[in-house]
Symmetry: C2
Subunit: 261 residues, 2 copies
């Protein structure tokens, strides 16, 4: 039995999200990769990812692992990346592959994650960016977004930003970084790094920040909304196509024990 770790990038537009679902016309990213692995290994493979992404959400770098009934030696003898690539659609790209120690777990070993959110802020939309950004017509007040995101930093109970669906017992998370910048004249970008994120947490944060900005509310109100621990107090989620899972972090010590294939 060998544990394989890999890094994958995907365009989430044409998927129903990361997780396997038994309804709807779209396939999940997980399902698509598992099907490719099944063809390559001729056995059923179960994938574990660092976390789920919603329908339409993209990944620059998602990390996964799976176990396969092969020896390390046999795994080293062939080019798994190439073999898999031929069975994946063009919207999923296998970036790197490693043999991982058996105590590496894509979900449980992750220490923190970075997401990015992109807003195209121009009076007219762009036919080229529709799939990849949230488009907001009115000129946004970048300073307001920068001020309200300061209130996200540190350890908080983020229950106000948890969408219904998945109930988790602990809703306390730690945010290390939450920076809005003007990436270019027409593009605003949030980079947010945290110990973990609740269901739709980044989209709910962005949606709430945009709501406060639009209503010209005091940016400090974000703090109050966090304190109220109620989803109803926060804004609606921002659109999925603006969101990117950017990077997943693991302990250095574990990274060092992974050997790239």
């Amino acid at each position: 039995m060998t544990r394989i770790r890999f890094e994958v990038s995907y365009d989430g537009t044409d998927f129903c999200g990361w997780q396997r679902q038994n309804h709807g016309p779209l396939k999940s990213v997980q399902h698509t990769i598992e099907d490719a692995l099944k063809i390559v290994f001729k056995e059923k493979i179960v994938l574990f990812a660092s976390g789920r992404t919603d329908a339409g959400v993209h990944a620059i770098s998602q990390v996964c692992h799976f176990d396969v009934n092969r020896s390390e030696e046999s795994m080293q003898r062939w080019n798994l990346s190439e073999a898999l690539r031929t069975h994946l659609p063009s919207t999923i790209l296998l970036k790197r592959v490693w043999i991982a120690p058996s105590d590496f777990h894509a979900t449980l070993s992750a220490t923190h994650k970075t997401y990015r959110y992109l807003i195209y802020n121009k009076p007219q939309r762009s036919v080229f960016l529709d799939r990849y950004v949230e488009w907001i017509r009115r000129p946004l007040d970048l300073k307001h977004l920068q001020k309200s995101s300061k209130h996200l930093l540190g350890e908080h109970d983020f229950k106000s930003f948890q969408s219904v669906g998945t109930i988790v017992p602990h809703t306390v998370r730690k945010i290390y970084k939450a920076d809005w910048i003007r990436k270019n004249p027409d593009l605003l970008q949030l980079t947010i790094t945290g110990s973990g994120f609740l269901k739709q947490m980044v989209r709910n944060i962005v949606g709430t920040q945009l709501m406060l900005e639009r209503l010209k509310e005091d940016p400090e109100k974000l703090s109050k909304i966090i304190g109220l621990k109620s989803r109803r107090e926060a804004g609606p989620p921002a659109a999925p196509q603006g969101l990117y899972l950017w990077k997943v972090y693991y302990p250095k010590e574990l990274d060092n024990r992974c050997r790239e294939l």
Copy 2:
């Protein structure tokens, strides 16, 4: 009878090119817009564009005109852009609309055009850029491309860069600008402005420049290829998805007589 001029942007990925075709599964951009105009005006409308774009080629700004059996007054009374927008797919964006004088002709009045070509130059492709750039794995020598494009400037017979299909009697064109820059660490961009372009001329130029760069030929060889006036001497066309019709120019005097709707 009123002449309408408009500016349109489109993602060429899912079209068979600008021009109406009677075969193949994909619709043309022209066909799609004409169908929308027919719904709006309840009459058959024939569109004229500044020029054709190939399948997969994009337009940041294509210019078109058509005549409609309505008075200028009636045209001014309603929002044509909005009416059309609801009948166009998300991959076609109507940017601006004008009432044009009867001597304005989108094809015949155009004095020069600018195209851009984008190359993503990284060992690994990007799932987000597949539709919008040509991907070249090997590190390109930007200086070589910059040197060979110098030989395009001025008036030349560009027969070597004309693809078969449309035979035009005069193959002399004037190139005003042909600049390669490193737009960002991973992206090379050609901006080329000329009095007009033959069928697939920009793609054939880029393909030939890339061929000379790859073979480490003297950049001056581009001059010789032009001089030979034979398609067989030039390189294969570069991929369509890297090409953008960027801007079409008309005489200032004509522009001034167009009134924006």
